[in-house]
Amino acid sequence: MIKIHIKEPEGEKTIPIPYFAVKSFLLKANEASGSSGEHKKSVNELIKVLRTYAKKNPRFVLIDIHDKEGTNVTISL
């Protein structure tokens, strides 16, 4: 599961996204760009690496964004 956590001055919310949904999204994005079967393979590898890393490092923060308006967005495993 990849989690997107959005914290704004008005409140906060977490959006959990299962790996299969991330995979599906990336595959569709690749299809839309007219990519080859090689890209499908790389998406599968990417998801595999993320899953493996998440098992060893639960809640690992991949991306942490703080903007000047006070919004904080984190994407974690």
């Binding site: 090689e38 890209h39 790389s42 690496v49 923060v61 991306i63």
Partner: protein
Amino acid sequence: MTIGQKLADMRRRAGLTQDYVSEHLGVTPQAVSKWENDVSCPDITLLPEIAKIYHTTVDELLSSEATKEVAVIDEKVRKDPSEMVLHIHVEEHGDKVKINLPLALVVLMLENDSMGSFSIGNIDLKKIDFKSILSMVHSGVIGKLVEIESANGGTVIIEVE
């Protein structure tokens, strides 16, 4: 550097949140925040576990010296590169972006040539030679490997831990 600053720095380098650390150690998130703000210190019995999850030693945690910016790690004590993390910190016009990429993911992105599409704001990361960075890491070099200040006031820092 105070112990609190050091704890905060090491936690961020390990890519962990205060919530994760507090839950892992069985303390409150407020306790972790107090340690990092030098309001209080962690119990001595927690130090080995803190050192473990921050990928460091108790000696290093208690040292008053700042974490070395760059170090060459002996082959015998080197971590497996697949367990290492590449940190990219970008700061531009008051916005801060921190990206923690497991090295295994960087290798995959380089193999598939997808680092080329990586940009944050006006800062284009494809100009950074990630292959050379990986090569340095495989030679045992860790720490702050890249620090760039752009003409428009933005900064990019790349560290490997």
